[in-house]
């Protein structure tokens, strides 16, 4: 490993240590619905929670915001991420957004784009939408296959065009409005790994300039479909592809998950850290208090219907803020990179504490 990178990782470790002590809440997910209008093969849902689970009422979430969060934070500094399911399935999404805007919170969402009509888009902008990510997993056939909906590609590309044109119109008019922060995310799988240059070209033609790519983890529905999961060699191919795009000046990034050893600093704008429970919290559909929404139930820290959210945020989340317990498990036990990696992402920990996937090991296998 390069000496400069090693020093950088030690400094980052120090910074992370401070951040754990501070644990400033910066991102709050709200799993507002489990309903969805597509049926993705790689859905992160473990399917234990039925899609018939009712949406959390708007007032329950806002009550937590008003009584538990707002008294302790500067709302301008806490990003609310409305998550799902597909957030656009909620009829009151704009209403919730407007309520958050009135309270000073920026909010954003990730969508498959299928239900994002022009009218809905502008309604959400008026309601304070500040940030949006559209999922597009490949060229048409592959995207439709993964999303299991014949109109999925049409929906995603329409949404991308809408956003790109909106931002361009702001630039053209030299408007005082700020452009929307946005990007496209792509789940790379065995079908699409060799099509990345073509997908990139298609996205750039649509106006995308920020593209995040990632592999699919063996969880939820994806665990039953090995075709979705990249081989170790393909994973390295993905890393090399991202490096080449970035060297060509295009903003392509790997997702936040996974410590990447020598690829740190080369495929993302930041060094690896799992911010779950350190600056990221979530309120799940049943009121559970967690960090990222895909983290296993064992790591839930409380429930808004019986606990004080803020008290949980301040005094709970111990397994997140002290991850030394992960060192007791394989393959972390004797790993020299543990100081930098700290056991990989929390969402990759099974109920029994074992690690589902080590990104570093995947890269080492292929060296």
């Amino acid at each position: 490993m390069r000496l400069r990178l090693k020093i950088a990782l030690w400094l980052e470790r120090w910074r992370r240590h401070n951040l754990k002590e501070l644990h400033p809440l910066r991102q709050l997910f709200w799993e507002s619905t489990l309903r969805c209008n597509v049926h993705c093969l790689h859905c992160g849902s473990d399917c234990i929670a039925s899609i018939e689970t009712p949406d959390m009422p708007e007032e329950d979430f806002l009550k937590v915001i008003d009584t538990e969060v707002t008294p302790h934070v500067d709302p301008h500094e806490v990003m609310i991420v409305i998550s799902g399911g597909e957030p656009l399935m909620r009829k009151d999404l704009a209403e919730v957004g407007r309520a958050l805007k009135q309270r000073g919170y920026p909010w954003g969402m990730v969508t498959n784009g299928l239900a994002l009509t022009e009218k809905k888009f502008h309604e959400l902008l008026d309601a304070g939408l500040r940030s949006i990510t559209v999922s597009c997993d490949g060229l048409e056939a592959d995207h439709v296959w993964l999303r299991q909906h014949p109109l999925a590609f049409e929906g995603a590309t329409r949404a991308i065009k809408l956003i790109a044109e909106y931002n361009q119109s702001i630039v053209n008019r030299k408007s005082s409005n700020r452009p929307l922060a946005w990007d496209v995310v792509t789940c790379v799988n065995q079908r699409t790994i060799d099509h990345l240059p073509a997908i990139r070209e298609m996205l750039w033609d649509l106006g995308v300039r920020d593209w995040r790519v990632f592999g699919i983890d063996p969880m939820g529905r994806a665990a039953e479909n090995p075709e979705l999961i990249l081989t170790d060699a393909q994973f390295k191919q993905l890393m090399d592809y991202i490096v080449s795009e970035r060297e060509a000046g295009r903003h392509v990034s790997y997702s936040c998950e996974g410590y990447l050893g020598d690829y740190e600093g080369r495929v993302r704008d930041h060094l690896y850290q799992c911010a779950a429970g350190i600056s990221v919290a979530s309120i799940l559909i049943d009121g559970s208090i967690s960090a990222c929404t895909s983290i296993r139930g064992k790591y839930y820290q409380g429930n808004i219907y019986k606990d004080s959210f803020w008290s949980v945020w301040e005094n709970g989340f111990k397994p997140y803020r002290d991850r030394s317990w992960m060192r007791q498990t394989e393959p972390c036990k004797d790993c020299k990179a543990f100081s930098f990696c700290e056991g990989n992402g929390m969402h990759l920990r099974r109920e029994d504490g074992s690690l589902m996937l080590c990104h570093l090991k995947r890269l080492q296998v292929t060296d």
Partner: protein, 68 residues
């Protein structure tokens, strides 16, 4: 006081580690104005650097400052 000091140290540590690792973003860094009227968030850009936080399939939009 201690909190402020830690925040300041972290800003420096973040900048130094990014520079040493050669991390860079081609994206512009938006401003974070605080409005006079806190209920008017029209021009509020969610904190600092887009694309810093990226929890994908389960959904983080590109707006998060990992390096405060």
């Amino acid at each position: 006081m201690k909190k402020k000091a830690l925040l300041r140290i972290n800003v420096l540590l973040g900048a130094a580690s990014l520079a040493l690792a050669g991390c860079h973003s081609s994206k512009p860094v938006p401003q974070t104005p605080k409005d006079e009227n806190p209920s008017d968030t029209t021009n509020v850009q969610p904190v600092v650097k887009p694309d810093h936080e990226v929890f994908v399939k389960y959904g983080i939009p590109p707006t998060f400052n990992l390096y405060e």
